[in-house]
């Protein structure tokens, strides 16, 4: 199955589900969501916290020269909500979930389970791919929010050691962040989640049925997801700049 065939079939399947929502495998999707979102909360929050701490230290070192360490909070809020939150969360999703999708589906392919589904009249795209892509996309907003909040907590902690009260920190954060900024970041996250899910499943469906095929598929899923996230984020940044948002 070529990549374009796969994308075409997935789109056709998604369109078909608009008219036959009962064909969606909700149970499978919930399980994939649990593995992607719930099981990923700890690592996403942990990385977010450390990122917040590191960023706060770096920025504070620079801003200290002007005696305005307090603006670390503004920088952190903007950086996390607009860029780092969705991008870093998506990269973690690619490593945890995209690779798992590729390995699961690749193993099923090697084990002829995909053939078995096909001859049972259950197209693998409907049965395996759709629930996973939807789960990956829906996992992004909660993961991103946890990541961003953990980052802010890390930043607040660093600033409080520099004598800036946490209350003041939060005042600056709420003053700089707009609802649009946060929703924009989350929407970007959903888009990245869709891409990670799609690439992971595609890599699995195309996995060679050799012993190292599954490993290669998982690697390809992560590498191409990260490339797609980087390129996608760049494109979105350019478009946002052109449209002035």
């Amino acid at each position: 199955m070529g990549t374009l065939d796969f994308i075409g079939e997935t789109c056709a399947c998604a369109a078909g589900m608009v008219f036959h929502p009962r064909r969606f495998r909700l149970g499978d999707s919930l399980l994939a969501f649990q593995r992607a979102a719930y099981d990923g909360l700890a690592v996403v929050s942990g990385v977010g916290f450390l990122l917040g701490v590191i960023l706060a230290f770096q920025c504070a070192a620079a801003l200290k020269m002007f005696g305005v360490e307090i603006y670390v909070s503004d920088m952190l809020a903007i950086a996390l909500f607009r860029e780092l939150g969705p991008v870093v969360t998506a990269i973690i999703l690619a490593g945890r979930t995209g690779s798992a999708f590729a390995a699961e589906i690749g193993t099923m392919k090697a084990n002829e389970e995909l053939n078995a589904l096909t001859t049972m009249g259950l197209p693998p795209v409907r049965f395996l791919v759709m629930p996973r892509i939807v789960a990956a996309a829906l996992a992004m907003p909660p993961l991103t929010i946890f990541h961003e909040l953990a980052g802010l907590v890390g930043g607040a902690l660093v600033l409080s050691t520099m004598g800036i009260p946490t209350q003041v920190f939060w005042q600056h954060v709420t003053a700089t962040s707009t609802a649009f900024m946060i929703v924009f970041g989350l929407a970007k996250g959903v888009l990245f989640g869709l891409v990670v899910g799609l690439i992971g499943c595609c890599a699995g469906m195309r996995a060679p049925t050799t012993s190292d095929g599954v490993g290669a598929a998982a690697t390809a899923a992560v590498v191409w997801s990260i490339v797609a996230i980087a390129v996608g984020d760049g494109l979105i940044a350019v478009l946002a700049w052109i449209w002035g948002v």
Binding site: T107, M108, N111, E112, E113, N115, A116, T118, T119, M120, G121, L122
Partner: protein
């Protein structure tokens, strides 16, 4: 469900079929018809293309040349969905869904294609597992049962929707003689009760003589079907040394 719709003409028909993969013809110019209710065996040495030709019959791979019909229909995008519900397939590897228990594997087709309640589906799936003598493995995962047991669960799954034609790829490989013989009885019983057609890849000579109505034999070196007929007659009166040797378990009979 499929049930016994007595089809006019052959249920599976191959006419001048070239079997293989794009760029690699494995078997050339194969023609035979399988009648409804027949138990038809595919024979031949390892790697001669039995699984390949089975994959054409179940619509996984398109034939390289010629015409292949199941229930009078060729495999196309338009006929696929309907045909899939009329066939049952057991793969050589079993191909159970590794994330589901044995019982859930058998229940899956019932869940997707019948309106039975959960309790009814469960009851029916348990009945199928009893048929293959695996009722006590119902709640085990495929990774927790042996290869031969996997195959029997896969047979139960293939039978779930009472298909018109069942394709079995080496069902008795890896089974002990007693289980293998009760599998033969199951096949004969289902044929008698429901009029199912069976297309079976098998190497078990005892089983072949017991259940087969007809058999087709393929030869790797000639890339062709070399015999078609009733197994006992092929054994006794085939002109082809390869065929005679096959039925004599590899000993040449000096003819």
């Amino acid at each position: 469900m499929g049930g016994v719709t007595v089809a006019e003409g052959p249920i599976v028909s191959l006419s001048h079929v070239d079997a293989g993969y794009p760029g690699a013809t494995i078997l050339a110019d194969v023609s035979f018809d399988i009648a409804p209710g027949e138990i038809f065996i595919l024979l031949g040495g390892s790697g001669c293309g039995k699984s390949t030709i089975l994959k054409h019959m179940i619509g996984l791979n398109p034939v390289l040349a010629g015409t292949l019909t199941v229930a009078g229909l060729e495999w196309t995008a338009a006929t696929r969905e309907g045909l899939c519900r009329r066939i049952g397939v057991m793969y050589q590897s079993g191909a159970l869904f590794g994330s589901m228990t044995c019982l859930e594997n058998v229940m899956l087709p019932l869940e997707e294609f019948t309106r039975l309640s959960r309790a009814e589906r469960r009851e029916r799936a348990m009945g199928l597992l009893r048929d293959v003598e695996l009722a006590d493995a119902a709640n085990l995962m495929p990774s927790e049962i042996s290869g031969g047991m996997c195959k029997r669960v896969a047979i139960a799954r293939a039978m779930a929707l009472d298909p018109e034609v069942v394709f079995l790829d080496e069902p008795s490989a890896g089974l002990d003689p007693i289980t293998s013989s009760s599998l033969d009885d199951l096949i004969l019983r289902l044929r008698a009760e429901k009029g199912m057609t069976f297309v079976v890849v098998s190497h078990e000579l005892a089983s072949i003589f017991k259940i087969a109505d007809r058999a087709a034999m393929f030869d790797k070196s000639r890339r062709a079907m070399v015999a078609l007929g009733v197994p006992a007659e092929l054994r006794d009166s085939s002109d082809d040394p390869f065929v005679r040797r096959f039925f004599n378990r590899g000993e040449s009979d000096g003819k």
